[in-house]
Amino acid sequence: MASHAKAAQQLARQLFKMSVVDGVVSAERVSGVLAYVEKHRPINPVMVLKAYQRLVAAELARAEAVVEHAGAVSEAMLGAIAAAMATRYGRRITATAKRGDALLAGLRVRVGDDVYESSIAGQLAALAQAV
């Protein structure tokens, strides 16, 4: 059972590498990989597909900056943030806006597991924590 899981992980990693073009997950490649898996069913297809999905989701999250905001956010702001994050991480990153009124005012940027925040709610929370 352990050997099956290990083989599924290894296959999922190979399929994921084939899905990435120039450091970005390609939708066409992903479709091709899924067609390949459907056609040539591996020993444990469900396990392979789950591992593949985790890898793709993690890569997409790494390539996407979710900008949570309260109040208006212009496209120029999103572009500047995406450019700054791409420079910081050394890969192409796209910015996606997401409304979050709990911030009161300001931005919270999430890239993968990293979070950057400059908001009134964050400052109030820091103030409460400091007191």
Partner: protein, 195 residues
Amino acid sequence: MLSHMLILAQATGSAAEAAAAHGEASTGITTIFKNFGISWPFILAQIVNFCVVAFVLWKLAFKPVLATLDERNKKIASGLQYADDMKAKLEAVQQESVASSKRAQVEATRIIDEARKAAKEFLDKQAQESAAKAGEILAKAQQLIELEKKKMLAEARTETARLVVEITQRVLARELSDAERGRYNESAARELTNI
């Protein structure tokens, strides 16, 4: 013996009177012996007889009596000595008893003093221990009170901060305009792009 001498004296007196009366010059002891009818054998026999009687009496009566008297004297002397010894012993015992009584009294006094001293030391020690325990309890109580106070102050501070933050959030959520939010967002975007 005394009676013999009285008789001899009476006889001597009679002979003198008789010589004076007769006026004759009879001479010396011979005349006296003759007048009194004394004969030397008879005298010797009496002497021997007296010696024998005296010897027998000495041996059979006087000596045992003297021995008995000596023995009684010795007994009396020993009794007196014993009495004296007993008296001396009694005195010694009395003195010893008095000395023993004094020693016992001194010892009792010493023991009482020691007991008093020990009791006093014990009381002092108990008092000191009690004071130390009381001080310790007091210090612990003060520490506990101080901790409770700090804890209460911290809780009050936390609660106050929470209330302030919550009120501020509500006020800001209600009072901030879109323009103000937009300006704040621009500022935040600049800050985030300059990380």
